[in-house]
């Protein structure tokens, strides 16, 4: 059975390089997947911040669709979408009251929902050995800080078996792809999330703390698995540069882009040119050096 693919709103728009790198990398691994037909928005932050029932019903609609379309496993690269989908599934599974309300709203009976995976879990499913086996480019010159953010790991009873305080799943994938990982303190600290629009100053301050800690601990690249985190750390880094003179910029890549680089996929196809902080100077110097040796 193919995986179900839930791209979510941002992968179709502002985070389209996440979508393109996902597609490129999965095709290299021969992973078959289909976009869930007629998927709709999971509600993101705004739903759960204003209506509990809405925040369960909107993702549930997609869970029901996925089940109807025969998917047993669905992956959602966007960490927020992933989090809303697993939360909704968890509540419907465990709370009879909520389940019946959702069934009434969607006018359908619930039987089961597919397993929901985030992008890190997907790669673990594919197999770390598989990633290492398909490596074509030496990434060992890259020192990466794996940034999990909030929604990949919290809450711990719903988001998966990852350790909330000291997760290592992303490092495992990055190491399998051949890049180095650093030990740092802000792995799971919030970047400011959806305050990016309404309270940009908050995002700037929080994201700067994250970027600075990564740099202090020797990273020259930050890896993320969430389009909101990416936007805050990448696009907003321009604002940070302006408002905090002396700020040391660090480029930010999606996990799939890093894996794509290891697999030798062309940088345009991975959407590396769509970032606001250009990663190319770093990649050119670090990757070329290894080739020269």
């Amino acid at each position: 059975m193919n995986y179900g693919y839930y791209p979510g709103c941002s992968l179709s728009g502002t985070a389209k390089e996440f979508d393109s790198s996902v597609r490129e990398v999965l095709s290299k691994f021969n992973i078959k997947f289909d976009e869930i037909n007629n998927w709709s928005c999971c509600g993101a932050t705004s739903a759960h911040a204003t209506s509990h029932l809405l925040s369960i019903a909107l993702p549930a609609h997609n869970l029901f669709l996925a089940h109807q379309q025969g998917f047993e496993q669905v992956f959602a690269p966007c960490a927020a979408c992933f989090n809303r989908l697993v939360t909704s599934k968890h509540e419907i599974d465990t709370n009879k009251n909520v389940r019946s309300k959702v069934e009434n709203l969607l006018e359908e009976k619930y039987s089961s929902a597919p397993e929901i995976l985030n992008i890190v879990q997907l790669f673990h499913n594919i197999g770390l050995k598989e990633i290492t086996a398909q490596k074509q480019v030496d990434l060992s010159g890259l020192k990466t800080a794996c940034y999990y953010g909030c929604l990949l790991v919290r809450p711990d009873d719903v988001a998966g078996k990852e350790d909330v305080e000291a997760p290592m799943m992303m490092e495992d994938v990055v190491s399998a792809a051949g890049a180095k990982t650093v030990k740092w303190n802000f792995k799971t600290e919030c970047c400011g999330a959806s305050h990016s629009i309404a309270h940009m100053d908050i995002v700037e301050k929080l994201s700067k703390k994250i970027i600075d800690d990564a740099g202090k601990n020797g990273a020259d690249l930050i890896i993320v698995a969430c389009p909101m985190c990416h936007s805050n750390l990448d696009m907003r880094q321009l604002n940070i540069k302006k408002d905090y003179p002396g700020h040391k910029t660090i480029p930010v890549l999606y996990l799939t882009q890093l894996i794509g680089l290891a697999l030798g996929i062309d940088e345009k196809k991975l959407g590396l040119n769509l970032h606001f902080i250009d990663p190319m100077p770093l990649l050119n110097s670090k990757l070329k050096q290894e080739a020269a040796v």
Binding site: D163, V164, E165, A166, N185, D213, K216
Partner: protein
């Protein structure tokens, strides 16, 4: 049979809802009742005299008392009747209070019910038999399990009263955690200075048989008559030859091969070692997992060095059997570790404080070792990472305690006091240092305790911040502590040099295993359970086994010492008589009808049923039957319920007695 019925008003407790006078009137007319009376307080002296007088005057041979729960005064009334010549087991209590007046409001119906309850008791008592208490001999020796301050105190008390005590300790030396402390609150006495005299006294006491590096392997028997098997682990050193000179330790070529247990992992120790210089007994032990000889057959430096030939590689564990009458459990505590232990999914560990990875984040016992003059830093407060004195030190209370999500819901009681002590010790030694304590509440209820904490704040300048810490991380060699002061409503972030966590007190590793061996209940945390939290705090539901110290619940040294003496007193009460009297309400097997299926034996929770072989006069085997050990039987009646042939009955609650009650009720 002439039955006397006595109805107690219990003041207003019964009298307000039950018309006691009427109940007495009606009771007087019941068949078999020769006399009935009601009185305001039957348990009082005049009340009891009423009963005694009636027994004499009316020649009563059985008594029914309508009163409060038998838990309260069954003993009282039994004694009163016994002194007037009626066998105490010809007395039945009808509970007119907890079963009637306290749960109903309507007077007429409550009175009717009270009459029924009396009627039932009257019918039952007609089938009662006089019973004689069971007498059990008592071995007047005690076993104390655990050689910390509680165990030592209990042993000294029992030994001081003239009885033999076996003191078993699993570590190579007695002393427990108290020997690891630097100073004790609230007096700031040097811990080892006040402890070691006790340790030596225990070692030298003629009545105390000290068995260190030993563990209790098996326990059989019952109160007054326990058979205990103790495993004396092999030190690989002959205790009779060793003089404790320490040459072997000096010459051991692998000085830093294993983590020092006594120094809480702060330093390493040799393969042959004594836990600390004042160890009692001062006889080394070989850690065979670390020793070169045991790993590869080479070395033998200690053998060559020892002038007395005391090293004995071939020494084996020995099993020692002892008979004792009382057991005192004093196994103590250990500290909760914030490390991540994947196999232990009860203990999640504290990832936000680093999972034990940061060298300069230590726990309370580690700080005690650092502050100790005999410790790894000779008493100077130094960071484990770079041995520099910390200029800013942060103490965090309630780590793992009062924490339902990652630790335990209970309060560990001692941390507020020892944290204040730690902060004071730090300020006394690092004069220009800054000390911060993050707390939720201050629990300082003992004598001079509140004043002690105020002294830390007012005289020694320790800054107390009311709130928890959310995260600790390392940056530029410092530990960034992110906390909150909820009183001011301000975030408090400190760049500390060292952090001390007051981690929760939990029971020792094998406390629950030992409890199962002893048949002593324990709670979900592994703390051993007392019989009654208010009135019987040192006794367990297993007769003859008593509790002392932190194995029961978190407590400080004065409380542990007091509890140890209390447990010793209980043992001495036991030793006060040559025989023990037990209530005869136990199970009894009808050996004629018993078919020897032994369902009862499987069902008995107290291991009180044995197999008994019946032989004829010529010694020929007839059959095997069940036999109830009346010293162990607790009278629960489970065997009675399981027996398919009704061959085992509970004396005092036999079938004919129960049926009499049911039929009496049915007649209504």
């Amino acid at each position: 049979m002439k039955i006397g019925v006595f109805i107690c008003h219990c003041g207003e407790n019964i009298g307000k809802t039950v018309d006691c006078h009427r109940v007495a009137e009606v009771s007087a007319l019941m068949p078999g009742v020769a006399y009935a009376e009601d009185y305001k307080y039957m348990c009082s002296d005049p009340g009891q005299n009423l009963i005694k007088q009636a027994i004499k005057d009316k020649g009563l041979d059985a008594v029914v008392v309508g009163s409060c729960s038998p838990h309260m005064h069954e003993k009282t009334f039994r004694k009163a009747c016994s002194s007037a010549g009626v066998n105490p087991f010809m007395v039945e209590i009808a509970n007119l209070r907890e079963h009637c007046s306290w749960i109903h409001e309507d007077v007429p119906s409550a009175t009717r019910k009270a009459i029924d309850l009396i009627r039932i008791a009257v019918e039952k008592v007609k089938y009662n038999e006089p019973l004689i208490p069971i007498r059990v001999p008592v071995t007047k020796r005690a076993l104390v399990i655990g050689g910390g301050i509680s165990g030592i105190q209990a042993a000294l008390d029992v030994a001081g009263a003239g009885y033999q005590v076996i003191l078993v300790e699993k570590e190579p030396s007695i002393g427990g955690h108290m020997s690891q402390l630097s100073e004790t609150f609230p007096t700031l006495d040097c811990s080892q200075c006040i402890l070691t005299p006790r340790m030596v006294e225990a070692y030298q006491h003629p009545n105390i048989k000290l068995m260190t590096y030993s563990e209790v392997e098996n326990v059989e028997g019952f109160i007054g008559n326990f058979k205990v098997t103790i495993r004396k682990k092999a030190r690989k050193v002959n205790e009779d030859l060793c003089t404790g000179c320490g040459d072997c330790i000096q010459k051991c070529p692998i000085k830093k091969v294993a983590s020092s247990e006594f120094d809480e992992g702060l330093i390493k120790r040799p393969a042959i070692y004594v836990p600390f210089p004042q160890a009692v007994p001062n006889i080394p032990v070989i850690d065979t997992a670390a020793c070169t000889y045991f790993k590869s057959g080479k070395c033998q430096m200690c053998v060559k060095t020892c002038g007395r030939g005391a090293i004995d590689f071939k020494q084996e564990d020995r099993l020692v059997e002892e008979e004792v009458g009382a057991i005192i459990v004093a196994t103590g505590y250990k500290l909760y570790s914030i490390d991540k232990k994947p196999e232990d999914n009860i203990y999640k560990g504290y990832g936000e404080y680093g999972y034990g990875q940061y060298k300069d984040v230590v726990n309370g016992l580690q700080f005690e070792r650092i502050a100790s003059a005999s410790g790894p830093t000779s008493g100077d407060i130094l960071r484990p990472s770079d041995k520099k004195p910390p200029k800013k030190i942060v103490f965090i209370q309630c780590v793992g305690s009062r924490d339902e999500s990652k630790g335990f819901s209970y309060c560990s009681k001692i941390c507020c006091m020892y944290t204040a002590k730690h902060a004071m010790l730090y300020k006394h030694k690092v004069h220009d240092g800054e000390a911060y304590v993050f707390y939720m509440d201050i629990r300082a209820g003992g004598k001079m305790y509140e004043e002690f904490v105020r002294r830390a704040i007012e005289e020694d300048g320790v800054k107390y911040i009311r709130g928890r810490v959310s995260k600790i991380y390392e940056e530029d060699g410092k530990l960034i502590v992110k906390g909150e002061d909820t009183i001011a409503g301000e975030a408090v972030v400190i760049d500390a040099d060292m952090v001390v966590l007051a981690t929760a007190m939990i029971p020792q590793e094998n406390a629950s295993k030992l409890a199962q061996l002893l048949g002593v209940p324990y709670d979900k945390h592994g703390f051993l359970q007392e019989v009654h939290p208010k009135l019987r705090p040192v006794e367990t539901s297993t007769g003859g086994i008593f509790l002392a110290g932190a194995c029961h619940s978190p407590r400080d040294i004065p409380e542990s010492v007091a509890m140890a003496s209390a447990a010793a007193a209980k043992a001495l009460v036991l030793f006060g008589s040559d025989v023990l009297e037990r209530e005869p309400v136990v199970a009894k097997v009808n050996e004629t009808t018993c078919a020897g299926c032994f369902y009862c034996r499987k069902a008995c929770a107290y291991n009180a049923i044995e197999r008994k072989v019946l032989k004829d006069r010529n010694g020929k085997f007839i059959k095997e039957v069940a036999y109830v050990n009346s010293s162990l039987c607790q009278g629960c009646g489970t065997c009675n319920a399981t027996c398919p042939s009704k061959s085992v009955e509970l004396v005092g609650f036999k079938d004919d007695q129960i049926y009499a009650e049911i039929l009496a009720l049915a007649e209504v």
